[in-house]
Symmetry: C2
Subunit: 721 residues, 2 copies
Amino acid sequence: MDGPSSRLRFSLSIFFFSFVLFFVFIPSWCRPLDEPKLLRQKQLFPSSKSRIRKTKTHPSSQAVRHPLDPLTAEEIIRVRSILRSHPPFGSSLPPIHSLSLHEPEKADVLAWKKGDPLPPRRAFVLALSDGRTHELVVDLGSGRVAAHSVESGSGYPLLTMEDLTAALQVPFTSAEFNESIRARGLPMSNVTCVPPSTGWYGRAVEEQRRVIKIQCFDQEGTSNYYMRPLEGLTMTVDIDRREIVEFSDSGRGIPIPKSTGTEYRYGSVEEEEGRDRVPPLKPISMEQPDGPSFTVEDGHIVKWANWEFHLRADHRAGLVISRARVRDPRSGALRSVMYKGFVSELFVPYMDPDEGWYFKTYMDAGEYGMGVSAMSLVLLSDCPRNAYYMDGTFAASDGTPYVQSNMICLFERYAGDISWRHSESFISGSKIRESRPKVTLVARMASSTGSYDYIFDWEFQTDGLIRVKVGLSGMLMVKGAPFANMKNVPGEYEMTGPLVSENVIGVVHNHFMTFHLDMDIDGPNNSFVDVRLEKEATPPGRSPRKSYLKAKRRVARTEGDAKIKLKLYDPSEFHVVNPSRLSRLGNPSGYKVVPGGNAASLLDLDDPPQLRNAFTNNQIWVTRYNRSEQWAGGLLAYQSRGDDTLATWSERNRPIEDRDIVLWYTLGVHHIPCQEDFPVMPTVQLSFDLKPVNFFDSNPILHASPNFEKDLPVCSMAASS
Amino acid sequence: MDGPSSRLRFSLSIFFFSFVLFFVFIPSWCRPLDEPKLLRQKQLFPSSKSRIRKTKTHPSSQAVRHPLDPLTAEEIIRVRSILRSHPPFGSSLPPIHSLSLHEPEKADVLAWKKGDPLPPRRAFVLALSDGRTHELVVDLGSGRVAAHSVESGSGYPLLTMEDLTAALQVPFTSAEFNESIRARGLPMSNVTCVPPSTGWYGRAVEEQRRVIKIQCFDQEGTSNYYMRPLEGLTMTVDIDRREIVEFSDSGRGIPIPKSTGTEYRYGSVEEEEGRDRVPPLKPISMEQPDGPSFTVEDGHIVKWANWEFHLRADHRAGLVISRARVRDPRSGALRSVMYKGFVSELFVPYMDPDEGWYFKTYMDAGEYGMGVSAMSLVLLSDCPRNAYYMDGTFAASDGTPYVQSNMICLFERYAGDISWRHSESFISGSKIRESRPKVTLVARMASSTGSYDYIFDWEFQTDGLIRVKVGLSGMLMVKGAPFANMKNVPGEYEMTGPLVSENVIGVVHNHFMTFHLDMDIDGPNNSFVDVRLEKEATPPGRSPRKSYLKAKRRVARTEGDAKIKLKLYDPSEFHVVNPSRLSRLGNPSGYKVVPGGNAASLLDLDDPPQLRNAFTNNQIWVTRYNRSEQWAGGLLAYQSRGDDTLATWSERNRPIEDRDIVLWYTLGVHHIPCQEDFPVMPTVQLSFDLKPVNFFDSNPILHASPNFEKDLPVCSMAASS
């Protein structure tokens, strides 16, 4: 591929931005593939003389062995070939914005058993042709397009790398842009631009075309150009026509923040005079000399302790857990917990109405893709030494496959925590001190959507609990400010966030992460139960107590009954149960979602970004299962108007009692930045749990073993390198 | 000590109950000491042929080296001796309910430097004489009682072991009790009783005397007698007169639950036929062949990475963190964060108005003591192999010292998490993949207040964050029920919790844990700032956005301004700042409390248990520092009436702006039990954070190092034992 630098007079680094995915074709870590045999041998990183246990066994020739296995490079090539001979497209393939597995019907997946022939392999494709989104289902077996429709609603599919690279080149041919850079006294070689999505605001310039914003930074003296905005310079670019349609340059008086203290690369961080460095910590490592207790069969089936699930990479959702099942310690049977779980959409609105900021209301999954944004994990630091790695294989916009290597890691985790314990105290007898260490299994991916990094963990516990964690790190989106100290803030200036460095404001924003949780507790048909704790007054004379709480179960009959806003003073547990599967005691088998990391969106319900992200109007929703309702912000999120969201689907108010239902839960956080977030943010972690309630007949890890000294490894320091 | 079994015809095991502390005099793990030289050498457990690294170096002869060091055994003996010659007590020492360090004035502690002479060593003593609580301050230097007053408010001090053992013996001499046991067809040798606290309900029987409840269980066939209640049998015992003052026996028709499936001891859990055991996991361990990076100097000063704090065991609070300071990476100076942090009180109300249940509204810290309830930690399972252990030295009711061995552990934790990361994506240049592993330091204690186990963690991060975690495990308090299956619940029966096993109801309850957090950000004088996010409407024509959020700072002027009920739709950050310490940018230095694990008490404000535990009326409070206001539920919590709580102190509405202030935060959870909690509960974990906000000039761990393969240990499995 020709780099833009060869075509432009200045050295142009095209970067992607906070929220921006990256479609990567860099040979050393991600390359297009013409033939599956070109799939390179995995180079674990650091690659030379590594003592890292290479637990990854590359799926031999990427054979498909499970109905939910993602498309292989070979299959992607075949899909491309089928599309190229699809008559409506003529001889030229339109840009492919999405090309991934078209999952078989749930019933077919559930009926399938190892050894059975696979259901027909199909691809789901979104292509953009003549400004319209084409949705295709390609059947690999027959070599034909099985379905082809043109979308009529609002919005466009995920941006492609070509969209972004093309848009980023546009300003450099603009006299206005060149003049603006010159006026700021910058050499063009220092200028780096990023392409934030434009949202949708009902403005004429957004109508009938795909537009994107371009903003630029001074990259001199630092790799962390995010901290050096050319504030006030914002362009709106027509992605397809490759022209600037709006140019705004209001901030020439605002100094570009200095690069001092912004660098973060190891080895590039210069010692500052007088800096007192914290002494380095002695090595500590999670060690498993006997190897891990999990296996990854057929490339995607993870088996660990009492758990079994299918794990795959997806270009949009990133990491997808399917068919999570847990073994019942009594019957020995694998029992269904969740058919599918993944992050469906993110909503990241910034709280600044200025021309250069109002539009920053990202939908990272639907606009850029959490999978395409998930770069290779950093071995030893992103995941512990005992991790196993899995790649993603995705399609580029020309329909060719490429590999996102080491995109997911999987590791057992012992953090010194306790699964359960009890110490007994008594006088006339022996003592009891029982404790069981907690070991869990973590599946992780980290998506770098431009400046921000999202670390997604799915953590499986032997007691049946699934903890879903999101870590937020990376760089803030900052605003250039005309002052360097709070004492110099002009009276008329509206602070939209705190000053986090000289001339740098960290703008207040939210992160909402909405999860699609297709719970299938002991089978598809489930009910959602609001177990509300209500205060009861004791009848006079009944008790010295005046009040107590009582748990009352209310089964949601329709989707409208299951729109939940969490309330501290009106608390409930939220259960998904199988009303047909009663325990030995007569309790329905269930799991509950245990909220955590809560923040609500406070924007006006009719503010355009909130309309588009109306899935954040409640913290919990339950919908009737519908295989096409996967993306909370709509299949076509880019410039969407909110006509295809979880909120609109739920308006149908479908019956959900004893049906196949999907639970949606939104993690959220208000982020008021602070100095500590500069120049890179210490990870903030949020999480929620899916926890068994009357699913097991009793504590499923009663028989777990304590740790014994004789079983622990003997370790020494490595010989000096 | 004479066991009751030698005095009673039946074999009596006296156990303690859910919430019950244990004052332990069992030779092998806790013994009274007449002379400090008798302090036994620590027997690490398992003691024989252990390869566990014994990082603990027993403080040589328990020298006192810091003003906040707890009383040594020698000092306790001296206090006892001083008290015995204190004229008002005559020759017989009244029962000692509390004997611990009387901390020097904060100013004296802050002024003290290593090498300075220690401030006068004093003991704070609560003794009960003639039904009244005597509060004494004993000066060790002068050998005199420096202050002596008699409490006039409601309530009594912590129960002593003698109180509990004496009360537990009372029923066995009662004909009514013997008849009741006989009527249930039980041999007396199977009966085990526990002493739940009685609360206070304004009943005549509670007036002018200390009373306690006694309830009993069938211990046949299981060590987990908690699961086998003799439902409906409840006695109220006058602790001091040793007589039953109320006898209630209403549940003879309720079957005693079977012992099947209740055992939990390793090796005693019998295999059930057909049980499919989960395959054991392969060993996994946190390894540090070079040893830990922390040191414990002078027995109590913990130094690790950029942190330094004083750690001690306290009989009431359990684990106390004092003078937590963090090193500024820029100046190299140790900067004050928190003068003192500890769990001040717990409130655990059960939600059942029945005669045998209404009173269960425990105040575990003030009634039983979290420190006395903190049994020795189980090596390798409660704490990882790399842990260091610390003992507690407390006074028994006769004033003699005893050692609670291995009561606190301290370890570095690497859980595979990420301190910060960023992956950069670009086309025309090199790639950036930066990630830093997260290693933390954990100080842990586990209190077994009867059936329940509370695991308290104080986790220190290098980025300045302190995470306070509470894990809940152990046994439920269960209620015997006349039915074994939900389908047989009689229409008139009021379920106060779910059926968790045959004839066993897990009664709904709350846990509230209120923390005293004496934040001293860069010095004692701080302010509390409510940084509220408020929705703003954009002026017409200003922006395509209709709404955004704005952070508004409101400094609390008085205690009344800082009574916070958390609201999802009216969110704030809660900062403690030093208004005199501005950063380079002009922001005040601060920490914020990040709530987590929230549940509010919904009981009537005038319900007696809520009056006594009115500190749970808000989730956050801020008070003016007052050294006597340590215990949120009152110094004398037992049978207290709520006249000395955080809520009553706050009514004074003292000014708190730019003063020495204390932050109080309450973690809470509603617990609706489930089958999985039977017969022992998988740990439920709650946490909140204390997080720097504009305390550091920038990310303090920017210079942290990634992991390198060459630095990691080389491990193999131990030779077979």
